[in-house]
Amino acid sequence: MHEPRPAPHPTLLAKARILDPSRDLDIHGDILVADGVIKDIAPNLADGLPPDTEIVDCRRLVAVPGLVDMRAFIGEPGAEHRETLASASQAAAAGGVTTIICQPDTDPVIDDPAIVDFILRRARDTAIVHVHPMAALTKGLEGREMTEIGLLGAAGAVAFTDGTRSIGSAQVLRRALTYGRDFGALIVHHTQDASLAGEGVMNEGELASRLGLAGLSKAAETIVFERDVRLAAITGGRYHAASLTCADSLDVLRRAKDAGIDVTASASINHLTLNERDVVGYRTFFKLTPPLRAEDDRVALVEAVAEGLIDIIVSDHNPQDVEVKRLPFSEAAFGAVGLETMLAAGLRLVTAGALDLMTLIRAMSTRPAERLGLPAGTLRPGARADIALLALDEAWILDPLTLKSRCRNTPFDEARFEGRVVRTLVAGRTVYEYV
């Protein structure tokens, strides 16, 4: 795997609040970074530093492990007008994300080891954060024939998914879980029954009826997820639900975990902080897949993150250009950008008292790194120095024109936030600094 070049000189992050979910550590002190790794963490490391050490004053800042975003759709190759690995990595760095897991629905689809290799080389040459591809689970994302899971994994794919496509055939998913098991492959699945989803564009219910929009039922998610859990149980495969949105699915997840099945799940930051009422006014930046749900489902999701039932929070970064967004709601494309706002939006939940900061960072960094087997998500001495520095008390308003992503379809257009990323380090090198 590609490692970004370490900074040429040591860096001391002085007098920070240091928060490391991998060790349940929340202390004040200094972090010494050199040669791309965290050399030491202690209350005071100011004495005896190498003469060329850069000292960063971190009073009032929180140092956390760089975020690992497990679900980012990037247009490269094939749709570079939407996003490139370079622009996505700039957006990521601005959002405190030091590792992006890109999704395979590119053109060509990432279903061949040569394309995995292309992504890794392209990221090495153009990206400023770590990029790992998920490979397609089925050839051409067609849901019929599994891909070369062994060879793709050897080439550097960190997991297998059909992106926003759900696999209709239980037999195909069963064989993929079975086949992938001996390779330790993580199978990530978008749980949405296509026939039940039909033409649905927003959450099914009273509001959709009032707006005259086709509804997309929660059952479309829960039925497929329930099926998948049973397949994971009988195959012994490693399974991850890409984006759960409703309380019914959480019941299934709880039962699966209680039964010891190797199942984990993500929720997107959008589903944790927005609800179906945001769609009122037919604002297409809120048209997402799966759709935003009702408030009680959102609350249930947040509670599930708080108790650790939902393991991972993802940005679900999905840039769409104006051509496909500036359309009537039912005709517009699904998706919103999210790399730059994931953490800021998550901090809303902390401010509201729904989550503590440790839990938030664990779900955005430590857990995804663990589930994917990546060397990230920790501030342990010896670990790679992927670090985000946060100013929790800084209030700001999102100006979409400042977004680094190539597309600006954000549901947080002109939203008020409290807390922001002020510096991001990747392998010890500062790749973003807020000025």
């Binding site: 089925t138 891909t147 060879l151 079975t178 086949y179």
Partner: protein, 317 residues
């Protein structure tokens, strides 16, 4: 033609439908008898009169040039009148039709039926409906007893024994009758059997067969005496069971590098026909450790032994 002065082994049964149900003594008896036919087959005069006046029908519902030819030669060398009947499976899919076929054949008074069918259990069903001896030449994913016997004969001739050997059967275990018959036979004679396959090609609860299961070729081949490769059917290659030929060969195809994990004197077998570059590399298939051609020779001898042993139970024998 001369009579057979030495062979005296009799199977105490009318049919040979599978390895299951055969005792170790019966298996060894068949192998010993086959040894004599190996010698006979290497002579200029290869004929015996054991089946003179008898009618053997090779009834193949599924194409198989090799097995059919092997049984045909075996029957002819024992003096039988051999007739080949190839029946298209599409016209005989239903059980009733199979039974109709049996009744028709029965009216022709054959003495031995050699049957291959794509459905597991079809041969046994047919055997119940006819009056003659029936030999299973492969039924679905169930059994292929003469293949297992010829494999055992080949091993015994090269290693001097079967007991105590470690044999790895590699590839599509789920759909393989060869694997099932071999697992039964080799274990009955005291070999340790391993199976190596991607998990999609392992039948459920395979570990209850008394075999050790491996997903990784290198681990599974460590210190084995015999490597038995299986043919991968084309329809399994395209992503439905394994992602591709390339991936299958990379992880489960037998090449010289993987073979080095086996014992230095390990021997390689394959029931044929081979997919070179899919389950086996040409260098290994044609290499010094390969027994693949010898297996074909042993096939004729074993089938002669089976026909000979069964013939002693035929009416008026």
């Amino acid at each position: 033609m001369t009579s057979n002065p030495t062979a005296s082994f009799t199977l105490p049964r009318r049919d040979l439908l599978g390895i299951e149900g055969l005792s170790p003594q019966e298996i060894i008896g068949l192998l010993d008898l086959a040894e004599e036919f190996v010698l006979l087959n290497r002579q200029v005069e290869k004929k015996r009169a054991t089946l003179r006046g008898r009618t053997q029908i090779n009834l193949f519902f599924e194409a198989s040039t090799r097995t059919q030819a092997s049984f045909e030669i075996a029957g002819k060398r024992l003096g039988a009148d051999v007739m080949n009947m190839s029946v298209s499976t599409s016209s005989v899919k239903k059980g009733e039709t199979l039974i109709d076929t049996a009744a028709t054949l029965n009216a022709m008074h054959p003495d031995v039926l050699i049957v291959r069918h794509s459905a597991s259990g079809a041969v046994e069903l047919l055997a119940r409906k006819v009056d003659c001896a029936v030999v299973n030449a492969g039924d679905g994913a169930h059994e292929h007893p003469t293949q297992a016997l010829l494999d055992a004969l080949t091993i015994r001739r090269n290693k001097g024994r079967i007991e105590g050997l470690t044999v790895a059967i590699c590839g599509d275990i789920t759909h393989s009758r060869v694997a099932r018959s071999n697992m039964l036979l080799l274990q009955a004679l005291g070999a340790q059997v391993r199976v190596i396959a991607p998990p999609t090609l392992l039948p459920k609860d395979i570990d209850r067969f008394g075999v050790t299961v491996y997903g990784d070729m290198r681990e599974g081949l460590a210190d084995v005496d015999i490597v038995m490769m299986l043919r991968l059917q084309r329809e399994r290659m395209n992503g439905s069971y394994v992602p591709s030929v390339k991936e299958y060969f990379h992880f489960w195809g037998l090449d010289e590098a993987k073979l080095r994990y086996a014992r230095p004197d390990a021997l390689v077998m394959h029931p044929g026909p081979m997919n070179r570059g899919v389950e086996i590399d040409s260098a290994v298939a044609d290499g010094a450790q390969s027994l693949i051609r010898e297996q074909v020779e042993m096939g004729v001898a074993v089938r002669m032994a089976v026909l000979d042993a069964l013939s002693r139970n035929l009416p008026n024998a």
